[in-house]
Amino acid sequence: MQNLILANLLTEPIGVAHYVVVSAFMFTCGVLCMATKRNVLGVLMGVELVLNAASINLIAFGSPFLRNDANSLGLDGQLMTLFVIVLAAAEAAVALAIALNFYNNHDSIDVDRADELLG
């Protein structure tokens, strides 16, 4: 296990694990954002964060600077990230449309009011 002191971080190269930690942090933030925001658009932003975390992971796994071995994803990581970004854009468009529709129907964007599916 890598030593996590700051001096070490400043003088030694960082590895995939560091990126993964950042990604994990961002992922957690996104998930919490989804879990706590009552605003539909807040939830949407949480989703964006989560997707972004995924992108970071993919880039990190494919980066030659972090992991120069045969198991590296290589360019596939970047290609995957491209797809993630594009799909995130598509997702944002649809989610926004849903939000607008939601707003049209409920006159509000509070997700807590969308409980018609209550069992």
Partner: protein, 857 residues
């Protein structure tokens, strides 16, 4: 020009241009000018393009790269003049294509037979016949494979080693057919532009009366006619260029459907639609046989391809039908393959015994030994006869000839096309193309069918008064000639007659159309003396009549085109008859046929054009057809006269061309296996003087007699035809009613079928329905009991129980579903965490050992 790549390209162009025209007219035809006026021009342009491409292929590629054989026929060396010409031509062509000479080296047959064949598949040069002559006609002096170019364009489907492809097989026959079909079709197209002009406006059909007593009035269908014509030409080209039997079958059916459309062009007329149905259904009967034949061949040979499939270097990857059946080891003689013998043995063990016996006995060189190799021969016989069945249907041979005379219900250009170049030619062409596969026994069948057809149709033609009907029966009869010739081994004669006949029969039909167009009736009894009103039609038709009866100076080489081909057929018949005394009828039938042909053809001409007008009103209104119709007539007349001639200064003539594609292994005299007495003579034997002389004299004298008889009766009026009719009343009635064929079919096939259907229907209503009703009642009673006892208690109880449990469960679980998005996300997070914990617990307690090692990678 490299023929291997250019020929397929040019011919594919010629093949596909009509398709393009068809598609264009199909989609835009209605909008091409008023009533699709320009559709006709488009279709004509397309077929003329095809013709140009075909002739380019012929004169630009084929002839320069494949010099015609030095002397076409052994027999003609007696004349002395042709041998010289041939030599000259060979030199002149050779110098122009000096580079190619090395590629197409001429192998003397002697080497072919002995050494192990330096033969590069399809590029085999025609064998030097002089060398062949030197060796005589012994079994080994057989010619090699004809020059052909085969290949595949597209693979439709594949089943293991079997595959269906769109391919081509091009030899001189293909190229010749292309030229012939495209030329005649072009003439017909031009002609049709004039003939069909009625369709350019609203058309009142005089033969269709509506319920309110008025005549049917409908919009013109000019463009549709040309649309069908284009498709027709495309299909015919498809058959000719086809590289395998499956492709032939596809276009075969396309030709069938086109003829259906065209014969039924005046669909509102009952007679037309019936005739179209008849043509189609009768053809289907033949096609059924063809399918059986194809199955027999495919299952045993494993390929439909005619030619060999080669790879880029020219090595043979897969051998086609012809080279499988005519193997090099066997001296190119027809022999069933190993697989066929095995197949036959598996199916009919009885035959396999005969092999074992025969193999022992065949060692002894007894000619009259019991049949050898019966196994496989039967399969080959079935395959050949099966495929011939298809040709019987398409080429209107006995007993399926009944559709062709009815097919004249279509517009006359269609009749001209159907009767000359396309539909009926397809059958004969296929027999010619498929010739290497026919065993001597199958050929005998073909010969007899042809013989019967020839006689029956000719006799019927004597009494017919409808001008087109006479020509229709004449066509059937001439097709019989071709089949007879092919069946007797006269391959070149048959195919030659196919081509000459196409020209003069196309001409005759178009002339008759011109007459009909001028006098507005089909009935010859209302015509007469028309040569003054329509001279071009009259004299072109006279040329056609002279061509069809084979007019020429006997025992010379001067005559109309029919003279060459018909004499060749009769010579072959004499040659056959001299070796097979048992089948003497086959020898004399064509001679008799020549007599009848001459009679009825000139009966037609005299009744139409000579003498005094029988119907003054019609005569007064008769007029010569417009230029667009007469010019094709003249063109065709020129061809009808001269297609059999040698091009001056060269040895370019149709027979020489056809000789180039003579099927492998047919030149030798062959003997039947199942019928050991049967001998199919070498065609070149027919040119021997001792056969040529009596045959030529017989042909000329009979034709002259027929002509004379017709002249006596109809021109000089020495004999009154009505009196003749009275005195031969039963015979006339018999012939007038077409040998009662339609009635016989009605009684023998249709009536029993109807009876059977009625019986079956009665059985269905009376017995099966009763059983059904009874069982239904029983079931009904039983179910009532079951319902009361079992269903109400057991089944319902179970269902209700499950429903109740589900309901209770749902009531409990619904509390989890809060509808709150955020809560769901929390569930997911908690679930993930729990999953991780579970995995790590499992891993650490060693429940699943390999999980950890995976993660570390």
């Amino acid at each position: 020009m490299d023929p291997a790549s250019n020929l397929p390209m040019l011919l594919m162009g010629a093949w596909l241009v009509p398709l393009v025209s068809f598609v264009l007219i199909l989609f835009f035809g209605k909008h091409m000018g008023s009533h699709g006026k320009y559709a006709g021009h488009l279709a004509t342009l397309a077929i003329v393009t095809s013709a140009v491409l075909s002739f380019t292929a012929m004169f630009g590629v084929w002839l320069p790269s494949h010099p015609l054989p030095g002397a076409a026929h052994h027999g003609e060396e007696h004349d002395g003049e042709h041998a010289e010409e041939g030599g000259n031509l060979h030199v002149s062509l050779g110098t122009s294509t000096a580079g190619l000479e090395t590629q197409f080296t001429v192998h003397p047959v002697a080497f072919l037979a002995d050494d192990s064949h330096a033969q590069d598949d399809s590029h085999e040069a025609p064998n030097d016949h002089a060398a062949g002559e030197a060796h005589g006609h012994d079994a080994h002096a057989n010619n090699g494979a004809p020059i052909s170019h085969s290949g595949e364009w597209y693979t439709i489907c594949k089943f293991g080693s079997l595959k269906l492809t769109i391919g081509y097989y091009i030899d001189s026959l293909t190229v010749t057919m292309f030229c012939m079909v495209s030329l005649i079709a072009s003439c017909v197209h031009f002609y049709a532009i004039g003939y069909m002009h009625d369709e350019l406006h609203d058309f009142t059909d005089p033969e269709v009366t509506m319920r309110d007593g008025k005549k049917l009035k409908r919009p013109g269908r000019f463009y549709r006619f040309f649309q069908y014509l284009s498709l027709f030409c495309f299909s015919m080209f498809g058959i000719v260029i086809a590289g395998n039997l499956a492709m032939v079958f596809i276009f075969w059916e396309l030709v069938g459907i086109c003829s259906y459309f065209l014969i039924g062009f005046y669909i509102e007329r009952k007679s037309a639609s019936t005739a179209a149905n008849k043509a189609f259904i009768v053809n289907r009967v033949g096609d059924f046989g063809m399918l059986i034949g194809m199955m027999a061949l495919w299952s045993s040979l494993g390929t439909f391809n005619f030619g060999d499939t080669t790879d880029a270097e020219g090595k043979i990857v897969e051998r086609g039908m012809f080279s499988q059946l005519h193997t090099e080891e066997n001296g190119y003689r027809l022999q069933p393959t190993e697989s066929m013998i095995a197949e036959e043995k598996r199916m009919c063990p009885a035959h396999s015994d005969s092999i074992i016996e025969s193999s022992a006995e065949s060692a002894s060189s007894d000619v009259h030994a019991p049949p050898k190799n019966t196994a496989g021969q039967w399969l080959l016989f079935i395959g050949g006869v099966g495929v011939f069945c298809g040709c019987v249907g398409k080429s209107a041979q006995f007993p399926l000839h009944v559709w062709l005379p009815d097919a004249m219900e279509g517009p006359t250009p269609v009749s001209a096309l159907v009767h000359s170049a396309t539909m009926v030619a397809a059958g004969v062409y296929l027999v010619g193309r498929f010739f290497p596969v026919f065993t001597p026994e199958a050929l005998l069948v073909i010969a007899y069918i042809g013989c019967i057809t020839l006689l029956i149709a000719a006799t019927i033609a004597i009494t017919a008064t409808d001008i087109k009907r006479v020509l229709a029966y004449s066509t059937v009869s001439q097709l019989g000639y071709m089949m007879l010739s092919l069946g007797l081994g006269g391959w070149v004669a048959g195919m030659f007659h196919l081509i000459t006949h196409a020209f003069f029969k196309g001409l005759l039909f178009m002339c008759s159309g011109s007459v009909i167009h001028g006098v507005h009736t089909n009935d010859m009894t209302e015509m007469g003396g028309l040569r003054k009103k329509m001279p071009i039609t009259a004299y072109t038709m006279l040329a056609g009549c002279l061509a069809i009866i084979g007019a020429g100076i006997p025992l010379s080489t001067i005559g109309f085109s029919g003279y060459y081909s018909k004499d060749a057929i009769i010579e072959q018949a004499f040659s056959f008859g001299s070796q097979n005394p048992g089948h003497v009828i086959l020898q004399w039938a064509p001679v008799v046929g020549a007599f009848i042909t001459a009679f009825y053809m000139f009966r037609l001409w005299y009744m139409t054009f000579a003498g005094e007008p029988r119907n003054q009103h019609r005569y007064d209104h008769a007029h010569e057809s417009p230029k667009v119709m007469t010019v094709p007539l003249v063109v065709l007349a020129v061809f009808a006269i001269g297609i059999g001639w040698t091009l001056p200064g060269t040895n370019l003539k149709v027979t020489n061309l056809l000789e180039q594609s003579r099927p492998i292994g047919t030149l030798a005299t062959s003997q039947g296996t199942l019928l050991p007495d049967l001998v199919i003579p070498d065609e070149h034997l027919s040119h021997e003087w001792e056969i040529k002389k009596p045959a030529g004299i017989a042909a000329f004298s009979t034709a002259a007699m027929g002509l004379l008889l017709a002249t006596i009766i109809y021109l000089w009026k020495k004999l009154n035809p009505d009196e003749l009719k009275q005195s031969f009343k039963p015979v006339h009635g018999f012939l007038w009613n077409k040998w009662w064929f339609d009635e016989i079919y009605g009684a023998l096939i249709i009536a029993p079928t109807m009876l059977l259907a009625r019986l079956v229907s009665r059985f269905d209503l009376g017995i099966i329905d009763a059983i059904l009703h009874g069982s239904a009642a029983v079931c009904k009673g039983l179910s009532k009991v079951v319902y009361a006892v079992f269903d109400r208690t057991v089944v319902d109880g179970m269902v209700d129980g499950i429903a109740g449990v589900t309901w209770d469960l749902g009531l409990g679980l619904r509390k989890i579903q809060t509808g709150s998005l955020r809560q769901y996300i929390m569930f997911i997070v908690i679930g993930t965490v729990v999953l991780f914990i579970a995995i790590s617990v499992v891993q650490n307690t060693g429940l699943v050992g390999s999980l950890g090692t995976d993660l570390t990678n």
